[in-house]
């Protein structure tokens, strides 16, 4: 049995292993002796046993039960393979043990106190030999960083010269794997030197993809499915998962919301395929098989993300999957030695785009010009215009702030200041960079039957608005345990929790909507009055005063998930899985307002700041309980080697119970103590909502593959929902898809070297949609077919209290039911040139039928809106393309890969009966979604006479003069108007753009070279129009005199500046604020979402410390943006109209470290 290890003394190695083992023993010993201090000694104990092919571990347990002996062993010692067969009566335990272990590598040692240790014999270790060798590619070039793993999971990697050294059983095997090459497993066969040549090409054929209720070989897929692995997410810091997925999968549209801490992303697959206001195009998002909010998942825990895009692949999920499915799988433990990894990063961020407002000079110029125009033309004039004195004082302060006041007493009201300062509020509120940190610790492994993975993530982010001292925290512990209890029984438990808390200043300024600057914050107002008190005087909201003085808004949520799963394999080829999930989401939001005083001239007490008065505490509690039961059986077999067959049948049921209660108490006894109980409120407010919803579904799937060439899949699901009335509650959704692996055909064998994959796919499916996206909890969303009467109070006193009232119900159609989404998809998957080039292409047409919308447009005399019915159709067409090129150059030292994803979709209304007059303010048949109707600009009127000659009265009733915008009289009727604002009579409007994002692209570059890695990710939209009409960035005084102009607004028309960009300033100058060609913006952009440079310490170095991986990296996010969009906007935020009402998106720089033990 003994072998001589050629390179390292086997004794040296043996000793080392023994030391480790002893250390483990000692630890266990201490534990067990601590538990059994009082055990007595019965060294001559005898017992009777009857073991028949019994697992050794079970046998030992039996002995423990029957005797006072206790055994100490490590799990890897007792594998399932060891069986014992002994029948004995009154045998000495010592003898019994000796008999049991004779045919094994194990020995026992008595350790006193009736403890018996079981371990490998010294001879066992002697079987291991040290193996050395070199790994090269086909051309003989050495391959560095190839991972070499031995049977037990121990592993190493090759050095720069392609060399490795590892120990393994003399009859064991080694596996060599390397990205871009086919993995190779080699029997040791008692050899001391093993040189390996790896072939290029990925093992894609054996790749397995997560699909609904199971997995499938990628090569057998017939639906449109895209997947991303953790390697795309692990290497950089991510605020949330959406941050990491944006742009990675063509036609998976991620909307990141805005940059405010705690803001979640929203998802969409293949465009906006419904116009139903009560629905949404949100896909079904499942995390490990249950519906969860992806924003509450730590991206570090994600193992893979799969997107089921077409109806055929999503059909198994039925009524909630009409708009695609995103399957997120979290990481499992792997058998082998315990792996501990840490990753962490520190990030500092700053808005991509900070608004630049006018200074006091610009503000007064614009304001006074607008005021003069208003007076001159009968337009809006200010109710509180500036006086000459204001201008003089402001100019003096601007010129010499040290010697001039920024406020002076108001002659109309001498206790109040008039402000004449020059404050850059953006600088005051957003002075610097905000930090953010992320830490993630993971312990995983498994020995014997059980594997586990335990993770703890922590994320903290500070708000950009310094004074608010906002801190957002997320803590995500989770645990996954999988145990193969029997050959036919596997049990797993998955527990996960997310805790988030968001501590922000309360008050009306930066409310939860993300509004981040008061809209009327003029540069004239200083932060402080001359006497040192905060400025504001009750007329203006001074954000610094509010955030400093008022209370806090603390929002904390706990999301707790437990899934228990039992997997049975009663006979070969059959698997029965059932799982039950329980989720409790609780949210507690507590906000308090602390009143503070405001002061006027020389500190005269004016008022308590009105908007945070009276002192109050509000509490908002949510409790959302959700349970889901899934049970499904899968039969999988291959007959005659050519007929692969797989069948799935299952049942799904879900139930959600939501409760919300809110309370508000005013007049706190101690306003600085935010406790709801300590109030002096005669009538505190309480409110609440409680709703339920339920869903059941029965589903099946059949897969058939003939000879790896012809693929067929049929799906069906029968769904029932609580959201519709009993008569219209059930629906069946079928789908079918087929594929042809052309490359398997004999006539293409000649091309087999070129093509490793070539597959054509086609699918058709119909999915129902049950309305109400996940997370909607209102009564109207959960019981849309039942009219309810709202309750509230009325601002009128009955018996000295505001009256409580019950309102009028809306109109409800008794008949509406599921809307149906039909998708046709054809696709192509390819991999060629030894897998250097791979990717796929899909074209799809989605018809959304019977969308529930207002059935008809009815005259206002009805007094409410028309009831929604199944009455509109929409067609979305689109395609998506992905291509990846990866290769190695420079003697395999440099590995690079480039991935390009490109996608497009656009939607057209095909049926809409609710708008017989084809009014432009509603949908109409034939309408392309996103169309922008507007006027055609012909420049400015250069003289008053020119303006007077045109009848513009339908647009704005004031007198139009030089410097106002001139629109083309498209219908030659002598006046500029909207006509009847219908398709047939749009007046002088026409379609001047489309707001849909077209040709979205994502571009990934990855480089690896000698421990260095670099990745770049660029994402963008190639075509999109944006109408800035209505944006406060674009119009200096859009709706009234209180709006705050941006710096750009200074380029306005004057007789001296006739070629200005903007028209003459007006307050609420509706005429110039029309949607029009002149101001149509291209919102196309390309943004470098991230650049990452990492370095991993070489294995030669870290192996010595028994560390598997050490990587440090630096990442920059959103650093560069290329767009022709007007400067004040961020192309990713144009949905929100831009401006100070939206919290900006951040650009950031991070430093990170990843260590795996």
């Amino acid at each position: 049995m003994k072998k001589t290890a050629p390179f390292i003394s086997p004794h040296l190695r043996k000793r080392w292993l023994k030391t480790l083992l002893i250390m483990k023993f000692t630890a266990l010993l201490i534990l067990i002796t601590a538990l059994q201090v009082s055990a007595k000694t019965y060294s001559q104990e005898r017992i009777s046993v009857n073991f028949n092919h019994t697992n050794l571990s079970k046998a030992l347990k039996t002995i423990e039960r029957e005797s006072s002996y206790r055994f100490v062993f490590s799990n890897d010692v007792l594998s399932d393979k060891l069986k014992v067969t002994i029948k004995a009566k009154d045998i000495l335990v010592k003898d019994l043990l000796a008999q049991m272990l004779t045919s094994t590598d194990l020995v026992y040692t008595e350790m006193g106190n009736n403890l018996v240790g079981i371990k490998y014999s010294d001879a066992y270790y002697a079987d291991k030999i040290i193996i050395k060798g070199t790994v090269t590619d086909g051309k003989g070039n050495p391959l560095p960083n190839v991972s070499v793993t031995a049977g037990k999971g121990a592993g190493t990697t090759t050095n720069d010269k392609g060399e490795y050294t590892i120990s393994e059983d003399e009859d064991g095997s080694l596996t060599f794997s390397f990205v871009g090459f086919t993995s190779e497993t080699v029997k040791v066969d008692k050899r001391g030197v093993i040189n390996v040549v790896l072939e290029e090409g990925n093992n894609q054929l054996s790749d397995v993809v997560v699909v609904g209720y199971g997995t499938q070989k990628k090569v057998d897929l017939t639906g449109s499915i895209a997947t991303v692995g953790s390697e795309k997410l692990d290497s950089r810091p991510l605020v949330n998962l959406g941050d990491g997925l944006e742009g990675l999968i063509p036609n998976l549209n991620v909307n990141l919301g805005n940059g405010q801490p705690g803001t979640g992303a929203t998802y969409n697959v293949r465009g906006y395929t419904t116009i139903n206001g009560n629905s949404s195009s949100a896909p079904l998002i499942l995390v490990d098989g249950v519906q969860r909010d992806p924003n509450l998942i730590d991206p570090n825990d994600v193992a893979s993300v799969t997107v089921l895009k077409d109806a055929a692949s999503a059909a198994i999920y039925g009524g909630r999957a009409a708009y695609g499915v995103i399957l997120i799988t979290t990481k499992d433990g792997k058998k082998g030695k315990t792996q501990i990894s840490y990753s962490g990063n520190y990030t500092t961020s700053r808005p991509t785009n900070l608004p630049e407002y006018v200074n006091s000079d610009g503000f007064l110029k614009l304001f006074n010009t607008a005021q003069r125009t208003g007076i001159l033309t009968g337009g809006y004039t200010s109710s509180s215009p500036f006086t000459d004195l204001d201008s003089t004082m402001a100019a003096a302060y601007r010129a010499d702030p040290a010697h001039n006041p920024d406020a002076y007493p108001d002659p109309g009201n001498p206790i109040l200041y008039r402000y004449v300062g020059n404050t850059d509020w953006v600088k005051v509120l957003y002075p610097g960079w905000a930090p953010q940190q992320e830490h993630h610790l993971s312990v995983s492994g498994g020995e014997g039957k059980t594997t586990y993975s335990a993770n703890l993530g922590y994320f903290t982010q500070d708000g950009l608005e310094k004074i608010s001292k906002q801190v957002y925290n997320r803590i995500t512990p989770n645990l996954k345990i999988n145990s193969d209890i029997k050959k036919w029984l596997t049990v797993n438990l998955n527990m996960s929790m997310t805790h988030t808390d968001n501590n922000n200043s309360s008050g009306t300024v930066n409310g939860p909507g993300g509004s981040w600057m008061p809209g009327d914050l003029r540069p004239l107002m200083p932060v402080y009055n001359p006497d040192g008190h905060f400025s504001g005087q009750g007329n203006y909201s001074n954000p610094v005063a509010i955030m400093t003085n008022s209370g806090r808004d603390i929002d904390a949520a706990n999301d707790f998930w437990t899934t228990g799963r039992v997997i049975l394999k009663p006979v070969n080829h059959l698997t029965i899985t059932s799982d039950y999930t329980w989720n409790s989401y609780t949210n507690f939001d507590k906000a308090n307002l602390i009143p503070f005083n405001e002061y006027g001239v020389n500190g005269t007490f004016l008022d308590v700041f009105p908007w945070t008065k009276t002192s109050q505490v509000s509490e908002n509690r949510q409790n959302n309980n959700y349970t889901a039961l899934n049970a499904y059986a899968t039969y999988e077999n291959t007959f005659n080697e050519k007929h692969y067959f797989k069948a799935l049948i299952g049942y799904n049921q879900e139930y959600q119970h939501y409760q919300l209660s809110n309370s508000l108490a005013r007049n706190l006894i101690d306003p600085s103590l935010p406790a709801i109980g300590t109030n002096n409120d005669t009538k505190p407010t309480v409110g609440g909502t409680e709703t339920e919803s339920a869903l059941v579904g029965t589903f099946f799937r059949l897969n058939y593959v003939y000879n790896r060439k012809y693929l067929l899949e049929i799906n069906g699901r029968y769904d029932g929902t609580s959201r519709f009335q009993p008569n219209n509650r059930y629906t069946f959704s079928p789908s079918v898809s087929a594929g042809w692996n052309i490359v398997e055909e004999s006539f293409l064998q000649g091309l087999k070297n070129t093509f490793s994959e070539l597959k054509i796919r086609a699918s058709y499916g119909e999915l129902p949609n049950q309305l109400a996206p996940a997370g909607t909890i209102s009564s109207s969303a959960q019981y849309p077919y039942i009219a309810t009467m709202p309750t509230g109070t009325v601002g009128y006193l009955f018996n000295n209290q505001p009256g409580v009232t019950v309102g009028t119900p809306g109109l409800i159609s008794p008949t509406f039911t599921w809307e149906r989404v039909q998708t046709r998809n054809i696709g192509l998957d390819y991999a060629l040139l030894k897998n250097r080039l791979s990717g796929s292409f899909d074209y799809f047409i989605t018809d959304t039928k019977d969308m529930v919308v207002a059935s008809q447009q009815l005259p206002a005399v009805l007094g409410t809106s028309a009831p929604p019915t199944n009455s509109a159709d929409l067609r979305t067409k689109g395609w998506e393309l992905s291509a990846t090129w990866n290769d190695r150059i420079l003697n395999n030292q440099l590995h690079y890969s480039v991935t390009l994803g490109l996608s497009d979709n656009s939607s057209t209304i095909t049926k809409y009966s609710g708008n017989p007059t084809e009014s432009l303010s509603d949908y109409y048949p034939g309408e392309k979604l996103g169309n922008i109707w507007g006027f055609t600009t012909e420049g400015f009127y250069q003289t008053d006479a020119e303006a007077a000659a045109v009848n513009n009265s339908a647009l704005a009733g004031y007198t139009w003069v030089a410097g106002d915008l001139k629109y083309a009289d498209l219908n030659k009727d002598g006046k500029i108007d909207y006509g009847t604002n219908t398709v047939t009579n749009p007046g002088d409007q026409k379609i001047i753009g489309n707001a849909t994002s077209r040709y979205k692209f994502g571009f990934n570059l990855n480089l690896e070279y000698k421990g260095f890695d670099f990745s770049a990710f660029i994402q963008g939209v190639l075509k999109r129009d944006f109408d800035p009409n209505g944006s406060l960035v674009f119009n200096s005084f859009y709706s009234n005199e209180w709006n705050l102009p941006y710096k750009y607004a200074m380029d306005y028309w004057t007789p001296q500046n006739p070629n200005a960009y903007f028209a003459r300033p007006r307050f609420a100058g509706w005429g110039n604020e029309q949607t029009q060609t002149k101001y149509m913006q291209s919102a196309a952009y390309g943004r470098v979402k991230q650049l990452t440079l990492g370095y991993s310490l070489p294995h030669q170095l870290i192996d010595k410390w028994k560390i598997q991986k050490v990587r440090a990296y630096i990442t920059g996010a959103n650093l560069i943006t290329i767009t022709s969009l007007f400067k004040g906007f961020d192309p990713e935020l144009v949905n929100f109209g831009g401006g100070y009402t939206t919290y900006p998106i951040n650009k950031s720089v991070s430093f990170g470290l990843q260590v795996t033990l």
Binding site: S383, G412, S578, N667, Y796
Partner: protein, 560 residues
């Protein structure tokens, strides 16, 4: 292996169980919302439903009131009178919104389910009809002929949805019917805050005077029943003996003080009041009034009589208007009680000396102070608890005087019981039946003729003065067909600013003020007069409504 079968059996049972109870599992009903099927069961239900109407009550809160008339020239030119109003696209936000009508009709379709006596039911039907009548009256004022929807309709009620407009007079006849029902069934004494019979009578008097005079001056005919109904309703209120003109015997301050009362409940002049209480319900009106940039017009200021009961054009007591100090000499005490003059405490001891022109306080220099106090507590934003009138007895008296004068039944007794009660409070001489025709007023209202011309003209003057800033003026001009008054250049002029007065101001404060040839402040330097167009008596119907329902054609005159 036994375990295996136990597990299988359990699992199969679970699945079977789960799939059997589907229907029960899927039947889910609202847990926290009220369904109409379970409502309208008892009096409380009816009351709770009717409570929502009360947010529609017309509150005389002064802020920007009468800016759309000849009484005021606010800082910003009123867009409707400037002719810059554009035809709205949709009905929401305009008077063409029928959602409140639907609210009323829904009640009428359901209230009878309640298991209570008819008289209690009729109380709430009365409330409903009171509010529905008011809403239709408002629609008629805005649009003239309107669709009269008096039943609960749904999306299938095509003939109602796409019906024609009912003629103005016919709608108002129905409105009167509803008001009569309300008067008949709403109890004399109602629970705290709820409508009582006198509230219903007050609305009836107001609506009927409007409609009666409208019919008369627009030549629509059949005005007498409405004028008579107005007078009858007013007399019922007067004869109840419950109400009187508030006075403490201080003619120089009673009128002003009436509008800064923290509690109007129990005030003899309050037929119905909008009440506020600390913390529970407060308003921001006092502060708004202090910053409104509003101002009465020169024309309004000129219309105050002198203390001898004569107009300024003839009274020897008139001292001219070279300064505001001179202008208030020997004038109706209500002048100084609704316009800020020297000595008025603007806020907590900030005494006004000169009109605060050139600031955000007033546009014309005639700064309105009705409802405006110098109290710091009331100035605090959103903390004022000053109550407002919904129905003020003074208006009832004015209605009685005008209706009887128009009917030709007005006597000296009528005047003594109405106009002269108002004059008594402020110490003005009584209006006598033989008062001379004021030529200035006669020129303004050429349609007023006949033997009661002098009385009607003086009643109109009295109404303008007494109800200043209470929001009645445009409706009055409408029903008198007197829109032409808007053309009067004096309606957009402010105080006279002689160089000697101007010199008393810091130059920078008044440097931007534009004056006309007579040194009156021109509030809108770009125009010398506003221009009335008869189309402004009515608003246009929203474009979308005209398109959806061609039966609404034609659009109101002048807006096509």
């Amino acid at each position: 292996m036994k375990n295996k079968y136990i597990v299988y059996t359990t699992l199969l049972t679970m699945i079977a169980f789960a799939s059997c109870k589907k229907e029960a599992f899927l039947n889910r009903y609202p847990l926290s919302s009220i369904s109409p099927q379970n409502f309208f069961k008892n009096e409380t239900d009816l009351q709770l439903y009717c409570n929502q109407y009360y947010s529609q009550l017309p509150i005389q809160s002064f802020v920007n009131a009468d800016d759309n008339s000849d009484d005021k020239a606010p800082q910003s030119l009123n867009s409707f009178l400037a002719g810059t109003y554009t035809i709205p696209t949709a009905a929401s936000g305009t008077a063409w919104d029928f959602s409140f009508i639907r609210t009323c009709n829904f009640f009428l379709a359901n209230y009878s389910k309640a298991d209570i006596s008819d008289s209690i039911k009729n109380t709430y039907v009365g409330e409903t009809l009171f509010f529905r009548a008011m809403d239709f009256w408002n629609k008629v004022k805005a649009f003239g002929d309107v669709p009269y929807i008096n039943t609960y309709i749904t999306d299938t009620s095509k003939s109602m949805l796409f019906g024609t407009r009912m003629p103005h007079k016919q709608v108002m006849d129905s409105v009167l019917k509803d008001l009569n029902f309300a008067v008949a069934h709403i109890p004399v004494s109602a629970p705290d805050g709820r409508l009582n019979k006198y509230d219903a009578l007050a609305l009836k008097a107001r609506v009927c005077l409007w409609e009666g005079t409208y019919r008369k001056y627009f030549g629509a005919g059949d005005e007498t029943p409405f004028l008579q109904a107005a007078s009858d309703a007013a007399e019922q209120i007067m004869n109840s003996g419950l109400f009187s003109i508030y006075t403490t015997g201080h003619p120089q301050s009673d009128y002003y003080n009436l509008f800064i009362q923290e509690e109007l409940q129990g005030n003899p002049e309050a037929i119905m009041a909008m009440r506020y209480l600390p913390v529970v319900l407060t308003n921001n009106v006092d502060r708004q009034l202090g910053q409104a940039g509003d101002g009465y017009s020169k024309d309004f200021a000129r219309s105050f009589l002198c203390t001898d009961g004569l107009p300024t054009s003839v009274s020897p007591l008139y001292k001219g208007d070279d300064s505001l100090d001179a202008e208030i000499k020997n004038r109706d005490p209500r002048f100084a009680q609704q316009i800020a003059t020297r000595g008025f405490d603007f806020l907590n001891g900030d005494i006004i000396t000169l009109p605060r022109i050139g600031t955000t306080v007033t546009s014309t220099g005639y700064q309105p102070i009705k409802g405006r106090s110098s109290s710091f507590a009331a100035w605090n934003a959103n903390q004022s608890i000053y109550d407002f009138f919904i129905f003020r007895y003074a208006e009832t008296l004015l209605i009685e005087a005008e209706a009887t004068a128009e009917l030709g039944t007005c006597t000296q007794t009528t005047l003594d019981n109405t106009i002269n009660k108002l004059r008594d409070r402020v110490g003005m001489p009584h209006l006598m039946m033989n008062v001379a025709v004021d030529p200035a007023l006669a020129a303004k209202f050429p349609a007023v003729t006949g033997s009661f011309q002098n009385i009607i003209l003086e009643i109109r003057r009295e109404r303008r003065i007494e109800l200043g800033s209470e929001g009645f003026r445009f409706d009055d001009l409408h029903r008198w067909k007197a829109g032409n008054l808007i053309n009067n250049p004096e309606t957009i002029l402010g105080v006279k600013l002689l160089p000697s007065v101007k010199a008393q101001y810091p130059p920078s404060q008044v440097s931007g003020i534009v004056l006309d040839a007579n040194n009156y402040i021109r509030v809108y330097p770009s125009i010398t007069a506003r221009s009335w167009n008869d189309k402004m008596y009515l608003y246009p119907i929203p474009i979308q409504e005209m398109t959806l329902n061609p039966n609404l054609q034609p659009q109101n005159p002048g807006w096509q």
